[in-house]
């Protein structure tokens, strides 16, 4: 039970930073943290029904749920792709504004047009 509460706390911290942190790069980091918390949630819950790896063999009836693991492989990779593209965009924006501050980017971006 405690572990789920801890995961919830991790999720809240990440989401809070994603919303309220002013630096774009911290927002991307926060997105990574939230993603990690969700992946951990899947894996930890999926292992609650067994205590053996997902291989065929004698321990078959005791193994953890292989489904969530296969899903999370995909989710992790998608998260990394999103991170890499957003970082590329941030580098592009830095070339113009020389700041990570979201408010400044907003203000100066509007002035341009």
């Amino acid at each position: 039970m405690i572990r789920y509460i801890l995961l919830g706390i991790l999720f809240i911290i990440g989401m809070y930073a994603l919303i309220f942190h002013r630096s774009v790069i911290k927002k991307v980091i926060a997105l990574g943290i939230v993603n990690t918390s969700v992946v951990l949630l899947f894996i930890i819950s999926g292992s609650s029904i067994g205590d053996a790896p997902a291989f065929t063999g004698e321990q078959g009836a005791r193994m953890v749920d292989p489904m969530v693991q296969a899903l999370m492989l995909t989710a992790i990779v998608i998260g990394v792709c999103i991170t890499s593209f957003s970082l590329a965009l941030i580098v592009h924006l830095w070339g113009r504004f020389e700041t990570f501050d979201i408010d400044t980017i907003e203000k100066r971006g509007d002035d341009e047009s």
Binding site: Y4, I5, G8, S45, Q69
Partner: protein, 248 residues
Amino acid sequence: MKMKTAAVHVIVIFALVLLAGCLFIPDDTPWPTDVRTRLVSDGEKDTGAKNLVSAIYLAYRAFDTLGETIVLIVAIIGTMSVVESVKKISDDPTTAVTYDFSLVKEKRSSHKLRTHLLEVVTGKIGPVVLLFGFYVMGQGHISPGGGFQGGTIIASGIMLFILGNPYSKVTEMRQNKILSTIEASAFVLFILVSLLSILTSGIFFSNPLEAAGVKYEYYIIALNALIGLKVGSGISLMCIAMMSRRRT
């Protein structure tokens, strides 16, 4: 104004706590076991993979894996096109030009010793990492690992090679397009293999040569190899594009 922002913070935190409470804290229903039961009885028979995660990842739900590689392709294309446009902005001849990461060409004499060390070490480690990558890639059906993980390890092996090599080698790799050809052809082959199975067995994303007596596990190994080549060359391409950018 201050009151307003404080109120917004309180409301958002309240909503987040509520959501985390409802989404994260499980009630007393036990975790479902249907999928496990089914896979334990049929998984190896259906797919020939001892690693049941691979059985799901590459056989039952291979379509998700295809989607994942597509996301990677798009991310790489997008990142590279943004990187190129950044490069155009900073291609100003008046600014001092140094090359990132590739330490050899850097004009800082104090780094000479370190560079040499790096070259020697990466030269020795690189091939081992590459070999390990191919091992992880090929053994996905019986042990943990698989195409994607193997591909990433291969990419880091290639990175090690590049780190130790002078900048000219990096540009050479960009120029001769071996990596991008591998990436594109592995992707095309991946789709062709999945389409072939429609023609032969009538089921999308299943072993196309089952009737000819080819075991299912060979099909999984082939998929792993294709994904591994695609991912490995794609990630290395992206990293090379990032490294060879000029620094202003």
